[in-house]
Amino acid sequence: MKTAIDTGTKQAIARLEQRAAAEGLLDVAYAHADSPFGPLLLAQTQRGLVRVGLPNQDQGELLVDLAARVSPRVLEAPTLLDEARRELDLYFEGKLDRFDLPLDWQLSGGFRQRVLRAIARIPYGETRSYTEMATKAGNERAVRAAGTACGSNPIPLVVPCHRVLRTGGALGGYGGGLPMKQALLELEGALDGRSST
């Protein structure tokens, strides 16, 4: 599909991205980022970070989904995501315990969004149960729905759904795969002195 793009055209594209951003035409800016687990996709709107794609997710599909659900004005603009990339790098090095990034919650509604906002407040290195999250979101009986909300988290890592476990400490599920969830909890020292299965 891709046609060879010469240097002059590449420079023109880079300028275009800057001008699109300056004129408010860049509804979704995205960038690729590296992580110890593999490539990540970061996407933000003018309001904030809207989507983080984990290594096991198809980045092309994520972009098509963003085009359909947020806006088709989706452009790769790496410099706009420098801060998000910087904070994630520090986090993976164990040097950052709190993200300071504006978030755009528009991909989650209602109960799911309340669950995710509660998850965003779980401190680094601590864990909570799905039941606790359901309660925080205003419906202690909706444990399964709280689990679904975690599973549909559009902004994983920054909204730390990996810190939510089953009552009793079993890992539960994770969109990026259970080994990644376990590794993140180990990085944060959250599994110290507890069984990890």
Binding site: M1, K2, T3, A4, I5, D6, G8, T9, A12, I13, R15, L16, R19, A20, E23, L25, V28, Y30, L63, V64, L66, A67, A68, S71, P72, R73, V74, L75, E76
Partner: protein, 156 residues
């Protein structure tokens, strides 16, 4: 809004080389860069409301064609001050091996110039040239034919 519009980045990845080729043919290498910006900014502005996503290439080339015409009009209106007035009119084109050819293409009337650029700069079939120019395939064929005839005469 159409549900199936691809992410705009896909259009850039897929068609920017074509758009640049057409613009370089139509306005020359120097002007092509600005026209490229104007083309894609206009496309980006209109994109969410685009109703028919079936011929994105033709749509982009139509916009590029209009921007090329704007460019020539703007140039016509803005004379550039020079130290010495020379009578020779030079088209705003690249100094490449086929300099003479593209200079001659640049001097064609807008429709013919666009038809030639779309056909030989971008390898578009007649139907797509017609879509890009907003005319019938027959008219596109005629513009192309007239353009080539004129080029043959110029360069003979």
């Amino acid at each position: 809004m159409t549900a199936s519009l691809p992410p705009f980045q896909t259009l850039l990845d897929t068609y920017s080389a074509d758009v640049m080729a057409v613009l370089r043919g139509a306005v020359g290498r120097d002007g092509a860069d600005d026209c490229f910006q104007e083309t894609f900014l206009a496309a980006l502005r209109a994109y969410p409301n685009l109703e028919d996503a079936r011929n994105l290439r033709g749509w982009l080339l139509t916009i590029a064609h209009r921007k090329a015409i704007d460019h020539h009009r703007a140039k016509g209106r803005k004379p550039i001050p020079v130290a010495e007035v020379t009578e020779a009119v030079e088209a705003d084109v690249v100094s490449e091996p086929d300099h003479d050819l593209w200079a001659a293409v640049g001097a064609l009337p807008p429709k013919q110039r666009a038809a030639v650029a779309l056909r030989y700069g971008s390898d578009l079939p007649h139907a797509e040239i017609a879509a890009a120019l907003g005319c019938s395939p027959e008219a596109a064929r005629r513009s192309l034919h007239e353009g080539i005839k004129r080029l043959r005469k110029e360069l003979a």
